[in-house]
Symmetry: C2
Subunit: 485 residues, 2 copies
Amino acid sequence: MKIALAKVNQTAGKIKENTEKILSYVQKAEEAGCELIVFPLFAICGGPCGFLFENKDFIDENIEAAEFISKNSSINLICGEVFQKTDDNTAYIFADNDIELLKADIKNFSANKKLIVVISCLSYYERKIKEVKDFFTMQAVENNVNIAYLNMLGAQDGYIFDGLALYVNKKGKFKIFDQSFKENLIIFDTDGKDLEIGFNDRNEELYKVLVLGLKDYMNKNGFKKCALGISGGIDSALTAAIAVDAVGAENVLGVLMPSKYTSEQSGSSALKLCKNLNIKTKTVPIENIYNTFINELTPFFDGKEKDLTEENLQARIRGNILMSLSNKFGYLILCTGNKSEDAVGYSTLYGDTSGGYAPISDLYKKDVYTLAKYRNTISKVIPDFIIERPPTAELRENQKDSDSLPEYDILDDILEKILDKKMSYKEIIETGVKKEVLDKVWKLIKNSEYKRRQSPAGTKVSKSAFIKDIDLPITNGYLWNKTNH
Amino acid sequence: MKIALAKVNQTAGKIKENTEKILSYVQKAEEAGCELIVFPLFAICGGPCGFLFENKDFIDENIEAAEFISKNSSINLICGEVFQKTDDNTAYIFADNDIELLKADIKNFSANKKLIVVISCLSYYERKIKEVKDFFTMQAVENNVNIAYLNMLGAQDGYIFDGLALYVNKKGKFKIFDQSFKENLIIFDTDGKDLEIGFNDRNEELYKVLVLGLKDYMNKNGFKKCALGISGGIDSALTAAIAVDAVGAENVLGVLMPSKYTSEQSGSSALKLCKNLNIKTKTVPIENIYNTFINELTPFFDGKEKDLTEENLQARIRGNILMSLSNKFGYLILCTGNKSEDAVGYSTLYGDTSGGYAPISDLYKKDVYTLAKYRNTISKVIPDFIIERPPTAELRENQKDSDSLPEYDILDDILEKILDKKMSYKEIIETGVKKEVLDKVWKLIKNSEYKRRQSPAGTKVSKSAFIKDIDLPITNGYLWNKTNH
């Protein structure tokens, strides 16, 4: 049997364009003599559409499009779509030009079937692909059935759809396994040659996901160019590299915004990074703006000492400069915050949290380093100094992140235990974490939810992405330090 | 039968304090000789707690607290709490000091029962109270049963719990009906006198909700004082009045931040408003800061014309000034945006959207006027000029909101039809809305989701509050103007 799996990258709401693409793939499959072509769930509407699913016109247009596709296809076709707001996965089966609604329920696999086709629109997280692979291997063998599976491809608002395509026979052998994250029409014969495209390397996979997340956000929202602040630190360095790999060096602008606290090495490393990446730079010093702000504000500060106010102000001036460039030239501004910072609110709201998209916001600091080093194995773009220096926000003299936070290896370990492993207080303490450190970290997490709520969308790579998966209340009095835990 | 309905206003996560309050009410009910005391759902944990419900320690502490309450109560007690993450409403019944789990399912009313007690933690929207009242009247009569109902009281992250308390007998007659939004222990005899506290006036109810929303946000998050920009416009005027009614004039600061585009009348009306409200003011002109920004940025603008960039910059400078005062003195900054503006993105991100809380973000512009006028019937605080002038952002010479947007009466009408009534495109056109206006409004809604995602929490008063109820995708290509609608 000759089958086509159409790994399409669609855009939410673009029914007409999505339909045209579907039909172009149908034609190719027809020409290749396929008996069946499969599209992922939401292939017509383009992805999860939230409130649009409550819009009757939207649903009607999707149904019209499905009927149009059906009329213009001469082969069997499976294509997922919505009929009404629902959490169920529903799939159209177009066989003999009739539309039949199928409730896809993978728990009800039946051994009577020759072939089970599963389509989905499920978002990526690290380890998901292995889990899915194992799941289908087991199902195929246990139920003695061949299984074809296709997930939506592409990114939407930070969710990554991995486009995983597979065909596993009843012996558990994969004929097809494609996790390339690339749009493609896979045409194969169930008795033909095997195709396997995957990654053995976790870092390669994660990096590709981050590139896809930004690329699709920009393309689907009509951004040609992006800009970001380049500080000479690791976060902006990795973000810049991702941006270059997503949309090309010619479409990325690095903005240096030095203050008197910016070390010479930060400045020179930032420039070196931009040169290595072959991106244009602008250097806009913040000193004059900062001094004017301080002159104007000082009469209202009632003689109070310097404190976080002045540090935040610098970050907010930088945010304003970036947004002004965005307004004037149409750049998407990239926020360079990482998950460790977001978790504990180590950021300035409307300052370094500014931007339309946050490519690395679901990466712990340790993974920022890991992926920076990984990216350097492809071509060395991030200077050693940036990777080796101690993290600093450079908002005051000789500042280091570790003045305010536990060292990142300790912090990341605690965050993983709380957010990913969901360990109890007692269990965490038993791993050797100090009580006062745990209490401090929890308090920081608890009290910074309001910042995360006002932060831009970012690429989800974990099962515990903030806002999407970890929905803490803003008003939150839970101290979690009751002594009898 | 003597019953106590404990309308408590709890804080999310503050298990210890919530428990103490519960026990103090239990004691009062015992002293008054009640046979039964009822608390709302989530009375111990304090409200919907999101990710905390996945924290085993948190659940354990709640169970411990429930057991402690049970041991220390000598009367029958109903109190809602969670045992595990669930969307079901679950309730504890403490009778004879045993804990029994009850799945509250109001669809399974039974006529065999003498009394049905329903507890909830459901959030407010306009018309909800009438709907609930009608629902229980019908249920009592149809099922020939007495019903007591108690909802959680208080505000959390913009959700308002109305604390509605009622007792309706099997004839549909209300013995108790209390929608006062006030914490109270209602003790009554099922054969005794009637108590009815309600509002006949929609505006009074809405205004009270807005005051409660801000008051609780501040109290529960530890803010003593708030500050906001006072522009001489209607939005900041109403927000200031709400703030004064929520936390007292002595805890509210009005910040005037004039530019060269600020008219004399705006400035004098702003000062008059603050004087009427008896709040302190600070006047921080933005001209010098703006000019410094422009001087520093001009070399990077490549000779491009003045455009939205310069307008947004003014708004962002104001945002920075407010945030600096917040950082220095601990003010909660109030964002003064309304729902009409939010809907179409008529705001500057990191500018006028800055703030920890947005008291009127779920009010259409027309309701901003209605409630401003209502507030003036209590005491005249908002100057006539502010109510009568045409809306303007004053970010350029002679600017009016209607330069960029349809007049607000037209805009609000369209927004209601899309968001609240969920009418189809054709239905909206048939009401006389012009196609080009509808297309423009939809495009603005569609393209401004990224701003709403980065906006602060605000008080929900409708069934269609953004983010909470209307979850549009950011990436959204749906044009909704297909000609055959």
